[in-house]
Subunit: 363 residues, 3 copies
């Protein structure tokens, strides 16, 4: 399905009809690789985290391999994250049951012989660059080749990357739709990324398998401050192209390319920005969110790093505050409500249709 | 129905039987004019408020007309109270949709032409003296002539009025019953309005259409402090009459008349007090409450104003604290409970029967 | 049923099957004497407390007799604990209804004659030594001879007793199982009572009517610090026997006997410790817990008192923190869970089977 926006009201959605669109209430898609944590958050102190509805404890073996287990001893429900690590084993703090990194119980001290069939569920986890991915869905579907390929995050020679984390009281459906949608920029982000021309620029939105790709082109325009200022090209007219991608329920990427056809001496003609949004729902009403902004020039310039952190924290804070306000409305307003959508919402709705379909397959 | 109290146990109520009495759990009556706010609370900064279960945003046009809209953008559920006013239009803070005071969307900036059929629900609102009334029920029933007539609140020549506001965790059914009932005065308000003689005084209670009127007469008695002290007649014997009225689910009035048959030179023979209780449930367990105490003498005497505020804040605080304690019991006590009523509860039960009937008509 | 532990996995429990084991979700057993309060907590100021799901107000008559009433006026649900005592009568704070200690209303001031049939439910309460017992279940089953006999708590000549109180967010089923189980000692209490030999010592567990008795014997061993240090016998080898008893849903006792076969001059050959755990669920997720540690030597030695308080507060805090962590897991983990038990859990499961059966009889 490919579309170009035409400007009509799409009419009211009936979100729970078959063939329709995910809302905050749609069951979470579990058969998907989600970010469990920044890789450096996981270490030799067990870390408890709720991920896609699953209570998980995360730690590393002595060799540094990440481990994710259900954070509940199968014996008396003690949270294993309150236990201790001995070598690669996680020891329950209540009765001392010892679990290997594969979840097999190898010692129950109160018993003279260890029962051979006792295990705690483990979840596939994989380190990739700065993050660790987890699969909380059906284990037999946990194919590592499905982990989104984000090579710029692991490349600190060519790319300079800054990052941040938020925990928010909102749903991942609204979050995806917010990231796909740029028509809100002039209103929610008037001081940062919003320019009305960009919000109105023509786009194409394409569904590719279970991804949605939105492309925009702008020629001979002023650079947006967030990209132009660190590159010191605010006095130039530039061409601008962008690709926003609903990669999976867990990931959204945005690539921005700024072309300066007449670069000053010693400066590049092309500036690339790759923005990576990873978010993992705790539940239908809360999200862990990690963002990464990568640039392909002056990768170790601390002043640019600082600028990028500040500008993006500001913009994302505005989005997240809005999403929390919306969640609050959705939770507390008991009056009937029918959601209204416009042609400009189509790209977001394409993603919500995918989320709906993926969730339906599991439930 | 007219009755005089006779002193017998009315027996246990079965509150949910047809023909019976509203309780805290009865659906709120929505087809009624309620106070939305003090008129001066509503201005050019949008004000969010939950009123009779509806999430509402309140503001004024440039001409000063009050506007009440649903506090939820029909597009992506952003709370409109977080938006901004431009002229008479409320602008959604998310995508910049512009709503006129009649709720019609007149601009959606992301679209080149404005869709013609998009609206947000508005609610009839009317300024009357110090308060603004709202109708959140069926729009076609919103007849302004149904707004209770409280002319003394708008007359600051003849009347001196003091006012106050509380937000309480209680139900409006208990609140109405508390206001109708005076047998609790000696116990809940021993230091203020309670005298046992008054509590026991004979009353008549009459249902007039959907109102309940309770009348009491006392002759040749000592004045109650709350009325006698500001009038400086505590040394006199007076006659006293009162009318308490369940006006509507939203309003209770109490008129007190103190007659001094032998007034001192230059002093009146009659002192009138009109007390107006406006309360608007947020939900079945919380209320906005505005009270007004008006007197017909020395209307601009600040010392009397201060006395009236202090005395009534004290008494009302005692009532509201008790109602919150009761709400807490009702919510947390899971054991079966059958409410017991006495003949002295009849006036309150007459009001609860009306509330029950009005609620049933809507549900 | 008598068993000795043999070390095999018992397999997964299906807790809600008939004939099975109580969990935190099993209805509370109400036909049982529970501790309502320490006797000295109940006095001439009404005390509100939730006990086994019942909202109760506790006070004493002028003669010192304990009274327990439902904390809800049958008239308008005012919490009677917010009222006042006049002589033996509890006066409702709302309309002044007066209830005698037997729950009969003897005055309703708003009425000229008192209705003869109005009562508030009272609950049987009995003082026994330092505590007051209550029966919130079926009144006709409240046989005082069922109150557990704990004579050492009332004997301060032979016995020195220290005590403490906790309020915890946990369920009484887990609490009972925790007290019966000693295999957790080395892990949860490594610094206090835990020794691996003791945890592994052979035990017998016997069901006697609706009680479970667990007996352990250890010969020629080092004394545990918590008993050996106050007795100043840490340099000795001793014999040790213990009896832990699930007395009722409300009480668990533990008797420890330390035998010194070669006592120093002037010192006893036998040290007795009686530990009494009384706990009363508020609900399925919260408990009032009173503990008592009694010893049969130097009963008025304040240094030993201090030691016993500190050592036991420490150990019990560790248990209670663990039980709260588990409650938190059980409440928040929505994924399916099947509880796994081992042979060492049998004594606890015997108690949970009794709790299950008692609850089933009532529901």
């Amino acid at each position: 399905m490919t579309l170009t926006t035409d400007e009509t009201v799409l009419g009211a959605m009936e979100p729970h009809e078959p063939g329709n669109f995910a809302t905050h209430a749609t069951p979470l898609v579990r058969n998907c690789w989600y970010v469990a944590a920044r890789a450096d958050e996981i270490g030799r102190t067990p870390l408890a985290r709720k991920l896609v509805g699953a209570d998980v404890v995360l730690y590393r073996t002595e060799a540094g391999e990440p481990v994710a287990m259900r954070n509940r001893c199968p014996h008396r429900s003690f949270p294993l994250a309150r236990g201790t690590l001995e070598g690669d084993r996680l020891i329950c703090g209540y009765h001392g049951m010892e679990f290997e990194a594969d979840g097999v119980c190898v010692n129950m001290p109160a018993l003279s012989s260890t029962p051979s069939t006792v295990t705690v569920r483990t979840y596939p986890v994989v380190d990739r660059g700065p993050v660790t991915w987890i699969w909380v869905g059906a284990p037999d579907l946990a194919d590592e080749s499905l982990i989104p390929d984000l090579p710029w995050l692991s490349d600190d020679v060519e790319w300079g990357t800054v990052t941040g984390h938020f925990h928010i009281e909102a749903d991942y459906v609204s979050m995806h739709e917010n990231l796909i949608d740029q028509t809100h920029f002039p209103f929610l982000h008037p001081g940062t990324v919003g320019t009305p021309e960009y919000a109105r620029s023509k786009l194409t939105a394409t569904t590719e398998h279970d991804q949605v790709v939105i492309r925009r082109e702008l020629s001979d325009c002023a650079p947006p401050g967030v990209y132009g200022r660190p590159a010191e090209i605010m006095h130039k007219r530039i061409d601008r192209s962008s690709e926003a991608r609903f990669v999976s329920p867990a990931v959204h990427t945005a690539f921005a390319r700024i072309t300066d056809h007449d670069p000053d001496p010693g400066k590049p003609g092309l500036y690339r920005y790759n923005i990576t949004h990873c978010f993992t729902p705790e539940s239908n009403t809360a999200i862990h969110y990690w963002w990464f902004v990568s640039r392909d020039y002056r990768p170790r310039d601390p002043a640019i790093d600082r600028f990028m952190v500040e500008a993006h924290e500001q913009a994302y804070s505005e989005d997240l505050e809005a999403l929390e306000w919306i969640m609050d409305v959705v939770r507390n307003d008991a009056d009937p409500h029918i959601e209204l959508s416009f042609a400009t919402d189509k790209p977001g709705l394409m993603a919500r249709r995918i989320l709906f379909r993926l969730a339906r397959k599991e439930n």
